[in-house]
């Protein structure tokens, strides 16, 4: 898939955000291309939320450059109207009920689909007449999810939108997101620390750790990029040689080592050497990589 010049809708270079002596976002370079589902993964406090606030113009960078749809997003109406940012910390006026949120959102989003919103309200069984202050955490998240989906904004951000949603409701969210994305392609950036749950939704993966972007790959490339070798310690070590090791585990005489990038021939050689090859899930990969980066930055 070749990337054309007009493909890129977000370009950040050296993007930084400092709060006193805490650097929440530290020199991030990232490019987001249109009509893909991105996962923004990372540990709690890694900088996902701050980064999203910067990309949506709700917070101001302390350094670096940022262009969204060709312009700096802060205070730029033309850019902001193409964005939808659903965050779990969204505050609403005290007197608002659920129906007021769904009544006011369409005034701000050009592409709002009323029927879709109504179907989603049914799907999530939202009580329209209850005060926002009185709904459960899951229902509050559902409100956000519905606004994010029904807005059909060209660039939609979901910041851990599933807090409080049970597994069934989360699955509804993923299913509706995929179905609507298939019918109405747009760019979605989904931040999550439930990596395995969202892994199959993602086309591209961004991993942020301690404010730095440590990974920026297509999900499929990532899946192929590591393998776990299982076998007797000696055989594993022999095979490893000087290869880059992502993770080491073992019990008794058995070793389980995750390595990066084996070619097809190398995989054959490993099998021939009596080693078992096991796949590495996206979650395991991200965990290994963030642990490694911790050691590096410690």
């Amino acid at each position: 898939m070749t990337a054309t010049a007009t493909d890129s809708i977000v370009r950040a270079a050296g993007l930084t955000r400092r709060f006193g002596d805490v650097t929440a976002v530290d020199g991030v370079d990232v490019e987001i291309r249109r009509d893909r589902i991105y996962g923004l993964l990372g540990r709690n406090g890694a900088g996902k939320t701050t980064l999203m606030h910067l990309l949506t113009g709700q917070d101001f960078p302390t350094g670096g450059t940022l262009e969204v749809f060709g312009h700096a997003p802060a205070e730029n109406a033309g850019v902001l109207q193409q964005l939808c940012f659903i965050k779990e910390s969204q505050r609403y006026p005290d007197d608002f009920k659920v129906k007021h949120v769904l009544r006011s959102a369409p005034w701000f989003f050009e592409n709002w689909d009323e029927d879709f919103a109504a179907r989603l309200v049914d799907d999530f069984e939202l009580p329209m007449n209850r005060r926002i202050k009185k709904v459960s955490r899951g229902q509050l998240s559902a409100v956000g999810v519905i606004v994010g989906l029904a807005s059909r904004a060209p660039l939609t951000f979901f910041d851990e939108p599933y807090l409080g949603l049970d597994a069934v409701a989360r699955q509804i969210f993923y299913d509706r997101l995929l179905a609507d994305y298939a019918e109405h392609p747009r760019t979605v950036v989904l931040s999550s620390h439930l990596i395995d749950e969202v892994a199959n939704l993602l086309e591209h993966v961004l991993v942020i750790d301690r404010g730095r972007m440590i990974l920026d790959e297509s999900a499929d490339d990532l899946r192929e990029s590591a393998t776990t070798l299982v076998g007797s310690r000696q055989k594993v070590e022999d095979f490893l040689g000087s290869r880059e090791v992502l993770h080491r585990e073992g019990i008794g005489g058995l070793a389980s080592v995750t390595v990066a990038g084996l070619t097809a021939e190398e995989r054959q050689a490993a099998t021939a050497a009596g080693l078992e090859l096991a796949p590495v899930s996206l979650q395991q990969l991200v965990v290994h990589l963030t642990r490694t980066s911790e050691k590096e930055f410690a």
């Binding site: 709700q58 205070e75 033309g78 193409q82 505050r91 005034w107 050009e110």
Partner: protein, 254 residues
């Protein structure tokens, strides 16, 4: 078969148009706080005042002139403070929602300012009409004065101007405080309040040092209430403009 493209082929005419109208509608999404509650409480205070007037009249038989006493009523002061609170809340919660919806701070502030001015005008009209009723019924039959206290002045032109200026003063002061809170939090609010207090004290000190209490007092006497009300437009305007610039740097991160 082809999925409907979200990205418009030509730049959508409506991207980049102002969201001021949407912000204004946002305030009226749930009209309770802005349009209903104020009148409910106004009515309650009125009923309370009626009760008080009745009690006073009944418990002082032989007295027939209550008008002067009643005309020092501060009952309607409540609604000015309510407006200030609405403005503060707006800067806090409505701001966060408007930004959440992708409005610019500029559009939000301008929309809010328009709403505050409109509300001020409407409430001024309401109180003026109630005041007219009050006069026509000679104080609701009890010589009561809630909507035409002495503080508002003695003729209709003055009253309307005074009431309007008071509303504008309270809303824009409230919005300035709200903006300070959103941008700098509770500490910022304390510092802001402290600075204002210091200014007031400084003025008081200056007057005292210049031994000018006398002239100041007579100036007040000569100019109240219309003059004072008009002078209050100055801080109202200052707070209005300041609020805009303060909010420009505010972020909705809770």
């Amino acid at each position: 078969m082809t999925a409907a493209a979200i990205h418009p082929a030509a730049p959508a005419r409506r991207y980049g148009s102002s969201r001021i109208g949407s912000v204004i509608r946002l305030y009226f999404t749930n009209p309770m706080t802005i349009a209903v509650t104020p009148f409910i409480v106004l009515a309650s205070i009125f009923v309370l005042n009626l009760a008080i007037w009745v009690i006073v009249v009944v418990s002082s038989p032989g007295n027939t002139n209550f008008a002067e006493g009643f005309s020092y009523s501060g009952a309607s002061a409540w609604i000015f403070f309510y407006m200030a609170v609405v403005a503060i809340q707006a800067m806090n919660n409505t701001f966060r929602l408007a930004l959440g919806y992708g409005a610019t701070r500029r559009d939000f502030y301008l929309g809010s300012a328009l709403v505050f001015v409109a509300m001020s005008v409407v409430f001024t009209a309401v109180i003026t009409i109630l005041g007219l009723l009050e006069e026509v019924t000679d104080g609701w039959g009890l010589q009561g004065r809630m909507f035409t206290p002495v503080y508002f002045g003695d003729n209709w032109g003055v009253r309307i101007a005074v009431i309007l200026c008071l509303f504008l003063f309270f809303t824009f002061t409230g919005s300035a405080f709200g903006a300070v809170f959103v941008r700098w939090g509770r500490n910022g609010l304390l510092i802001f309040g402290g600075i204002l207090l210091a200014i007031v004290v400084a003025i008081g000190l200056a007057i005292a040092l210049l031994d000018a209490w006398g002239p100041f007092g007579s100036w007040l006497d000569a100019n109240a209430p219309l003059g004072l009300a008009l002078w209050s437009l100055v801080p109202s305007a200052v707070f209005g403009v300041a609020g805009f610039f303060i909010l420009r740097g505010a972020t909705p991160k809770s």
